[in-house]
């Protein structure tokens, strides 16, 4: 009997808190970070994937079903990055508020021109996304667009606080615009330089800052590095005097270290996600870290 009352109590508490704040679920930490910038203390943000894990393969934990069930808004990439784990969660969550097309569903790729859309789709090319490369949030200009989208959706879902969300967006936009000058200046000396990455997660970052990140330790996206491919990469790196190899927290750093020691390049730890590197709890801090780390390695 006591237990029953306890459960009721929890239900009531949940129901009340749900009304007070907008419950926002973000599939990935970058969207979560932008949602916090816009929503401030008017929203509860739950992020499903951990910043340090591979976003292609996240376990569809049952607790995520509960988060999605209680969500007023869901922010996902909309570009198949989460295709391996989000669909069954949504099926179980049974929450019409976050169906595609509803105001509660914010698909970050809307309005973003995705890069590297394959002309032909074949899995012989590895884990290629049919809609284009889905790792777009690391471009600050695209991040602004996502933030604006989030602000518009939050305003529609929570009209009394619309001005608050819009003001937060303006603030974010101003900050990014100012920061872009700083980041652009820091990257300018390395214009057109080649950088090697473990996985093809960085075309948007490269495009924004005038870099060429087009050699990868993976022979094809999602396929682990093979010795013969690495030999090729090492030869290319030596020929082009490439100074940096980008790895993400979930990649096998030892492989990158091996290539680095064979070529004299530096291994640079990068992350697509706020929280993936120490001291990067916000989007701005993340790009700060990426720019300063890369600049230091390329010097």
């Amino acid at each position: 009997m006591k237990k029953t009352w306890f459960i009721f109590y929890i239900i009531v508490v949940c129901a009340c808190s749900a009304q007070a704040k907008l419950n926002v679920v973000a599939t990935l930490p970058d969207f979560g970070s932008l949602a916090r910038e816009i929503g401030g203390d008017k929203v509860n943000v739950t992020v499903l994937a951990k910043p340090t894990e591979d976003p292609h393969f996240v376990d569809a934990r049952p607790s995520f079903v509960v988060s999605l069930r209680n969500a007023d808004a869901l922010i996902d990439g909309g570009a198949e990055l989460e295709v391996g784990w989000l669909p069954p969660l949504l099926q179980n969550a049974r929450n019409p508020k976050i169906d595609v097309g509803k105001p509660g569903r914010i698909q970050a790729s809307e309005g973003v021109r995705l890069m590297n859309v394959p002309a032909n789709v074949t899995r012989a090319a590895g884990d290629v996304h049919a809609l284009g490369n889905p790792h777009f949030t690391v471009d600050p200009i695209i991040a602004k667009a996502i933030a604006q989208h989030i602000a518009q959706s939050f305003s529609a879902l929570d009209p009394p606080n619309a001005a608050f969300y819009q003001a937060n967006y303006k603030k974010f936009e101003t900050t990014i615009n100012a920061k872009l000058q700083e980041w652009g200046a820091a990257m300018l000396p390395f214009h057109n330089q080649h950088v090697v990455a473990y996985h093809d997660s960085w075309p948007y970052f490269a495009h924004r800052f005038g870099l060429n990140i087009d050699i990868f330790l993976e022979p094809k996206p999602g396929i682990p590095p093979s010795p013969s491919h690495l030999t090729e990469v090492i030869a290319q790196m030596k020929a082009q005097h490439i100074k940096a190899i980008i790895v993400e927290p979930f990649h096998d750093r030892r492989i990158a270290e091996k290539v680095a020691s064979a070529t004299g390049a530096k291994v640079v730890e990068f992350s697509q996600f706020p929280g993936g590197l120490p001291g990067t709890d916000s989007y701005i801090k993340l790009i700060d870290a990426l720019v300063s780390r890369l600049a230091a390695a390329l010097k």
Binding site: E53, V65, V66, R113, Q152, A185
Partner: protein
């Protein structure tokens, strides 16, 4: 395409006119960007540029409005046309980038032919190409917008169908279709010390003979039916030991998508939500064969049938779900229930093979499952299930199966491709089976069997794509002096395997089984060793992974 050209034609004259109107301030300042590439920009230059940009922005805003109006008019006039905005007018963002990187001097007169974000990027006069100029001397020099963003969000179209209803095509492989299709084929090369491997392996999709086996090629279809239902079908083709093709309608059901109060209804032919493994398809299993307890209690094909199911996720802060299903429970897929058996015999009795008399002849299948996160990287899912119905060995004989299952999973917080992980899964079942007198009281005794069994398996994904597993199986069948049946032998099994997943669409697995069948009243003890090399491929839509 036609519409895009129309819009472009409509914009062009307007743009030329507006550009001419804006000409005086532009003319005085337009050489500035070119100058800036040779001499450092002065404060005056910058101020002039700002002014120019402001006036341009005004013009552009006016133009945008005009374009919108035109578009609206066009849309009205051309309702049959495709969606309002070009989803991807330029396939490559790099092309857009090049545009934004060219000196703005040349871009100014032509700006109306580009979209709005190109125009606004002229606020940044040639930042990157002007490598000679000191970048910090030009505040506002780095572009803060460009064509990578098509427009501000809600008015736009995403390739995944923003603003789409559930009935719009589902995206597969970049194309559009109303359903996802996939083909999945599993094969096995088997060797066993037993010549009658089909008596040792208990699942219909397990390797059943020495040599090559093709016992599970399935076609899976799924998609949204309409805004209210989604549909799913799974059709299995298998080659029996005589190389004849058998076709099974393994599953075909629809379920609701938009019921309130976290309810979901499902109807059709489906695998019962009993325990962990029963509701899943063989290609998702961690071993090459069915656990003994699943094959011997729930049946070689699992417990499935035509029926209906309701499920409800409880409004509590953790994951908690109640599921209740009812199925006909007929035939081999209702193995311990209304199963006429091979050649009309089950557990040594001639079966009654009767039609359903009433509710007592259906199989009733409740399940209650809960899940908790022990930490950020550890999850537990536990459930209890039941299956209750009548069987065919007597006029009023009934079967009850109770199950309990537990799944524990740890996955690294730095997982790549889902690795490394450790997964421990156990299922326990108890079956009470009333074996009656058979059809027309042809069998001398009625017995009640209390059988139980369990399996427990640990999988260790130690490296991206590599999984090692061990499994222990035990089934206790109550011994009988009357019932002579191969399936009533208590037995245990130890299995070990190693699986390589080159990608999530293929796998190669090597498995070793050691079987021990215990002596009973009719059968002698046996020891069997088997080895399987299993391989699998998946074509088509990306199968998502259930937890």
């Amino acid at each position: 395409m036609k519409r895009i050209i129309l819009i472009a034609l409509a914009i062009l004259p307007l743009a030329i006119v507006s550009a001419q109107q804006a000409a005086p301030p532009a003319a005085s300042a337009s050489p500035a960007p070119n100058v800036s590439s040779t001499t450092p920009a002065t404060a005056e230059d910058v101020a002039a540029l700002r002014q120019q940009v402001q006036s341009l922005t005004q013009t552009v805003k006016g133009l945008q409005q005009q374009v919108k109006d035109q578009q609206a008019a066009l849309e009205k006039a051309n309702l049959t046309g495709e969606s309002g905005l070009p989803a991807n007018p330029e396939p490559s963002a790099i092309a857009g980038a090049e545009a934004s990187l060219t000196p703005s001097g040349s871009a100014v007169p032509q700006f109306p032919t580009e979209d709005t974000s190109v125009v606004s990027s002229t606020t940044a006069p040639a930042a990157l190409p002007a490598a000679g100029a000191s970048p910090s001397s030009l505040p506002g020099s780095f572009p803060t917008t460009d064509t990578s963003v098509v427009t501000s969000a809600p008015e736009t179209i995403s390739s995944t169908g923003a603003g789409a209803s559930l009935t719009q095509p589902i995206t597969i492989g970049g194309g559009k279709a109303y359903m996802n299709i996939s083909l999945d084929s599993v094969f096995a090369l088997a060797y066993s010390s037993a010549t009658d491997l089909h008596n040792i392996e208990v699942g219909d999709h397990d390797p059943q003979q020495r040599g090559f086996n093709a016992r599970n090629t399935e076609l899976a279809f799924d998609g949204a039916v309409d805004p209210y239902f989604e549909g799913f079908a799974n059709i299995v083709f298998l080659l029996d030991n005589n190389n004849n093709t058998e076709v099974e309608l393994e599953e075909a059901f629809m379920q609701t998508t938009s019921l309130p109060y976290n309810l979901q209804l499902k109807g059709g032919q489906f695998l019962a939500a009993f325990g962990r493994l029963n509701s899943t398809h063989p290609h998702t299993w961690d071993f090459a064969d069915t656990p003994l307890v699943n094959g011997l209690f729930l049946g070689p094909d699992g417990l499935r049938g035509v029926g209906a199911q309701a499920s409800w996720t409880l409004p509590v802060p953790w994951y908690s779900q109640l599921i209740f299903a009812s199925q006909n429970g007929q035939g081999e897929a209702g193995f311990s229930f209304r199963n006429p058996g091979d050649n009309g015999m089950f557990f040594d009795r001639v079966t009654t093979d009767r039609a359903a008399r009433g509710l007592q002849d259906f199989v009733w299948i409740p399940r209650f499952e809960n899940s908790f996160n022990l930490s950020d990287t550890q999850t537990v899912l536990a459930g209890v299930s039941g299956a209750f119905g009548s069987n065919e060995t007597g006029a009023n004989s009934r079967t009850q199966i109770y199950g309990a299952d537990l799944l524990y999973k740890w996955k690294s917080s730095h997982a790549e491709g889902g690795f490394p992980f450790v997964k421990w899964q156990t299922e326990f079942m108890y079956r009470r089976f009333q074996a009656g007198h058979g059809a027309d009281d042809s069998f001398p005794v009625a017995e009640t069997f209390h059988d139980w069994g369990l399996y427990s398996q640990v999988l260790w994904g130690f490296k991206k794509g590599w999984v090692a597993g061990i499994r222990g199986d035990y089934v206790h069948m109550q011994d009988s002096m009357y019932t002579d049946d191969l399936d009533r032998q208590s037995r245990w099994r130890l299995s070990a395997n190693l699986t390589w997943y080159p990608t999530e669409f293929s796998k190669i697995r090597l498995q070793y089984n050691q079987d021990f069948l215990q002596k009973n009243f009719f059968l002698s003890a046996r020891e069997v060793e088997s080895i399987f090399l299993q391989w699998e491929f998946i074509l088509g839509s990306h199968g998502a992974h259930k937890f």
